[in-house]
């Protein structure tokens, strides 16, 4: 397996799945993409994780934020448009490999 820079796990063109989670705290992972597969379009830089900041943590984790493009047909079962969503790295897992990420 390749060891990409652990700080930035994904690159443009990668297929990623948004986690199927339901946190009790504030999150910026919209329900309609949870469990859905999309394509990374670009990296928006590194930003403090909203989930940590909302809980008042003094040292919120900072992570890359990705623009991820989802097909309407995947999200809604119909439609030909695309929806881009900006997602923190820990909201995402790789697609196309059986291996689970080792970290976290």
């Amino acid at each position: 397996m390749t060891m990409a820079d652990p700080a930035t796990r994904f690159a443009a063109g990668d297929r990623v799945r948004a986690l199927s989670v339901d946190p009790s705290h504030h999150t910026r992972l919209p329900r309609y993409v949870r469990g859905q597969v999309g394509e990374v379009l670009d990296v928006q830089g590194v930003w403090p994780l909203a989930d940590d900041r909302a809980q008042g943590r003094p040292d919120p984790r900072s992570e890359p934020v990705y623009t991820v493009r989802f097909a309407a047909h995947d999200l809604w079962g119909e439609g030909s448009h695309w929806v881009t969503v900006a997602l923190w790295q820990s909201y995402l897992e790789p697609v196309g490999t059986q291996e689970r990420p080792e970290e976290q």
């Binding site: 309609y32 934020v65 030909s80 448009h81 929806v83 900006a86």
Partner: protein, 196 residues
């Protein structure tokens, strides 16, 4: 649907909160007045329109705007540093085949400094819920009927980037000055619910 509280009741609630926070030393009247004044004076869709007009006449600016909007907009004297920290700006360009439209499904994120105060419809559950699912139908309600073959891309401002649409330059506008071009651009064009 529960009726909204009467405005007088809410206004009294706000006064109590304001008095409490001032008494606690957390703000004062001058600060609050200054915030409102600056907000009303500085935030305007004319800012976004100036960016668009420059991009229509200057290909180099357009290219930089689409790859690094934060540094490009300094050319027209603007920045994304109006708040506590600089926000990231992403400008998405409409083309012959692609139309972009912006939403924030989780709350109401919006580049206020460039587009002015956001309209109520942008903040409504109706717009936020529907535009990601049926953008063609929502745009039609704005009178924007796109050809079937146009690809629509909806941008959900769910993290730290704010989005602005770069509309296509209307036909028949050759020779117009930058100011004349800026006057053609509407707030809805910058959100993507209008062509320009």
């Amino acid at each position: 649907m529960t009726a909204h509280h009467p405005t007088s009741h809410t206004a009294a609630r706000v006064r109590r909160l304001e008095e409490r926070l001032i008494a606690a030393g957390l703000t004062d009247d001058a600060e609050l007045d200054g915030i409102i004044t600056r907000f009303l004076a500085g935030a305007s869709p004319l800012n976004g329109a100036r960016i668009v007009a420059r991009a229509w006449v200057d290909d180099d600016f357009r290219a930089r705007l689409l790859t690094d909007a934060n540094s490009a907009i300094a050319d027209v004297g603007l920045s994304m540093r109006s708040g506590l920290q600089e926000q990231r700006l992403t400008v998405v360009a409409n083309t012959e085949t692609t139309h972009n439209v912006v939403v924030c499904t989780l709350c109401s994120c919006y580049p206020i400094g460039l587009l002015g105060p956001s309209p109520s419809w942008y903040k409504s559950e109706a717009y936020r819920s529907r535009v990601v699912r049926d953008p063609r139908g929502v745009l039609a309600e704005f009178g924007l009927h796109l050809p079937e073959e146009t690809t629509i891309v909806v941008h959900d401002a769910s993290a730290e980037s704010r989005y602005m649409v770069l509309p296509r330059r209307p036909a028949g506008t050759d020779g117009r000055t930058e100011d004349e071009l800026a006057a053609l651009v509407s707030r809805e064009g910058l959100i993507g619910t209008a062509l320009v």
